[in-house]
């Protein structure tokens, strides 16, 4: 087991190096760079910028170096925790990301919690009482949930929130608390705003997960070991929890690690619609504007989280499923 983990961790290193090279190439691929487009903007506004200023800017972002030197400077910075400088925001990438990470995690975490709290019991019930009225109701709701684009739901909830309750539901804080220090009032205000993004982001996932949970459990309920356990005289509820439910969770465990990258990139569109101070819109902007260090650092973080998440999932699965462990 320990050997397995060590081997997997060592394998991660070449994977991440290859990914970082690819990312660097991809963000260099489009013609031009952010300085050129920034320059055009400034000139269009009628500002004059001297050659020296341009050169200084290019030098500051290492744009005059050959590509491979640029790569090593970038990756070297990341290794010591410096992700570079965003031209677009005029701030260090570290600051930009850390500033938003907390809220992003908070929103994604509450959305995921909501998803699981609803999806697991509903999915289990649907499987145990297949073709019952409530199962059909859950199925209908799940399909509606899957078919509704999240941003549309966000718009509807914003409208209803404004019409019925007279509150502006965009963002995470009311204006009076936005720049205030932390207090009980501000926390309450945050919670009052948090439920909308949590519901909106959680809904699509909930609908999908209800269907997956139902299908997984139905598969397992038909297995011969369920009949065996029944023939032993086990109580049906204890039986379902100990055997089929336990095994039906394995597909979840094998994908739970993929939540990690999702924590950062997830729900960018909704964040834009609801004007949430999360990392999603930041990633979107950086890609649109060729803000190379910001975009590159983001993509690298996402890749690293994907690789780490997959490893975590595999380790968890090996712990819960002996068939994997003994292979």
């Amino acid at each position: 087991m320990l050997n397995y983990i060590i081997r997997r961790v060592l394998l991660m290193i070449p994977t991440l190096v290859a990914i970082s090279v690819l990312i660097f190439i991809i963000i260099q691929l489009p013609p031009g760079d952010i300085i050129t487009s920034r320059l055009q903007e400034l000139q269009a506004e009628g500002q004059d910028i001297s050659e020296e200023q341009i050169e200084a800017l290019r030098a500051r972002y290492n744009l005059n170096d050959p590509l491979h030197i640029q790569y090593f400077k970038w990756i070297g910075g990341i290794l010591v925790g410096n992700m570079g400088y965003s031209v677009m925001y005029g701030q260090s990438v570290n600051n930009l990301i850390w500033e938003r990470l907390g809220f992003t995690l908070l929103i994604t975490f509450s959305a995921t919690l909501l998803t699981w709290l609803i999806a697991f019991p509903v999915g289990v019930y649907s499987a145990l009482r297949q073709y019952s009225v409530l199962d059909y109701a859950a199925t209908l709701m799940a399909f509606v949930g899957l078919a509704t684009p999240n941003f549309l739901l966000a718009l509807v909830l914003m409208y209803l929130g404004y019409e019925w309750f007279g509150i502006a539901v965009g963002g995470l804080f009311s204006p009076e608390y936005a720049s205030a220090d932390w207090s009980m009032g501000k926390l309450g205000d945050l919670l009052a705003h948090l439920w909308i993004p949590a519901v909106v982001i959680g809904m699509g996932g909930t609908a999908g997960m209800v269907r997956i949970m139902r299908a997984n459990l139905l598969d397992e309920l038909g297995k011969p070991y369920v009949t065996t356990a029944l023939a032993k005289g086990l109580h049906p509820i204890r039986l379902v929890i100990k055997y089929p439910l336990r095994i039906a969770l394995n597909p979840f465990i094998s994908t739970v690690g993929w939540m990690l990258p999702h924590l950062i990139s997830g729900a960018a569109i909704i964040a834009v619609v609801l004007s949430l101070p999360t990392t999603g819109p930041l990633l979107l902007d950086s890609l649109k504007n060729q803000d190379m260090y910001l975009a590159g650092s983001f993509l690298l973080m996402l890749s690293a989280l994907t690789v780490i998440g997959t490893l975590l999932s595999d380790i968890l699965l090996a712990i819960t499923d002996p068939r994997i462990r003994y292979e």
Partner: protein, 339 residues
């Protein structure tokens, strides 16, 4: 055979019928099955796939699939607890009483030991669960009993094997572990549903011998369900032959093999190869088992029977008559009107 003072059978199944409601229509897997097993007696139930053998055993334990229900008949069972006769056909299948009988009184060995064990729990975990369910004891005592049981069924190194998962054992070992689990709560009746079908031929005989030995040593009643006449020949005393959810012939095992009375049983015996008479050609039974959605009228076997005595085979169900002592068959060739 029975060492019990009482003459009442251990289990007496009378006219048991089961229907399953499906979207495609109503299936009738059991149409008035009757049989009895005395305490300590070994009984075989033989028939082709689809004749309702497994449905019968699932009905006894009331673990029928969703949509299936018992529509008529009785399952009178004399339980271990107080020697009371209870009707398992009418008892609430979800009751504690029924759960106590499952595993505790009547236990089962399944065809596929690989899938009949949970893949993510150890053998010990699953056997100990069975023990503690019917006889509360602490974990150490349960552990000792698990090792004892695995030793009893001939698993070497039982203490180490107990912590294995089903997929780590060989097919024969898995079936031995399954037998150990079935015996864990000292049942009175052991139902073995095709216990050797999934095993290698070389292992089949040994597992069968084991079941037979344990049945005799522990004084269990055995209900051996199989499609393989060779399996029952040396294992049981009395045989029931089933066709389309009915018992069409029954009798002592020697009688069934030497003087089969029903055309179906005769055809079944002709379709197995013989070592002593190598020149004889095998005769397959013509046609196939009719669909359970559309059961034939009259005698269920008339669609494939080569010995029909006339039109009444298609119209009327022949009576179950005694053809020799303790040997019964349902065929017009044995009824007075038929001869």
């Amino acid at each position: 055979m029975s060492t019990e003072a009482t003459d009442a059978p251990l289990i007496d199944v009378e006219n048991l019928s089961v229907v399953i409601d499906r979207d495609e229509g109503v299936v009738r897997p059991l149409n008035g099955v009757s049989f009895r097993i005395d305490a300590g007696q070994a009984v075989g139930i033989v028939g082709e796939s689809g004749c309702g053998k497994t449905m019968t055993s699932n009905a006894l334990l009331r673990i029928l699939p969703p949509g299936a229900k018992i529509t008529s008949g009785h399952i009178r069972y004399r339980r271990k607890l107080d020697e009371q006769v209870v009707d398992l056909a009418t008892i609430d299948s979800g009751s504690a009483e029924m759960r106590q009988i499952r595993g505790g009184d009547i236990s089962m060995i399944f065809q596929e030991p690989m899938t009949a064990f949970s893949p993510v729990h150890t053998i010990h975990n699953q056997i100990a669960e069975m023990i503690q369910l019917h006889d509360p004891m602490d974990d150490q005592a349960a552990r000792r009993r698990v090792v004892e049981l695995l030793d009893l069924v001939g698993i070497s190194g039982p203490d180490e094997r107990a912590d294995d998962y089903a997929f780590q054992l060989s097919g024969g070992m898995r079936q031995r572990a399954m037998i150990a689990m079935a015996l864990a709560s000292k049942p009175r009746l052991l139902i073995a549903d095709e216990p050797t079908t999934a095993l290698d031929v070389t292992v089949q005989a040994r597992v069968l011998k084991l079941i037979q030995r344990l049945q005799r040593e522990l004084g269990l009643a055995l209900m051996l369900i199989t499609h393989d006449l060779g399996v029952i020949a040396h294992t049981v005393e009395y045989v029931y032959v089933m066709y389309l959810g009915q018992v069409i012939e029954e009798g002592p095992v020697v009688e069934i093999f030497d003087n089969p009375a029903h055309p179906y049983t005769q055809a079944l015996l002709h379709s197995i190869p013989s070592l002593t008479n190598k020149d004889k050609r095998l005769e397959p039974i013509e046609g196939s088992v009719p669909s359970a959605f559309a059961l034939p009228t009259g005698c269920p076997f008339h669609t494939r029977c080569t010995k029909q005595v006339g039109d009444k085979c298609k119209r009327q169900m022949p009576a179950h008559v005694e053809v020799s002592k303790g040997h019964y068959a349902s065929c017009f060739i044995h009824t007075e009107e038929g001869s």
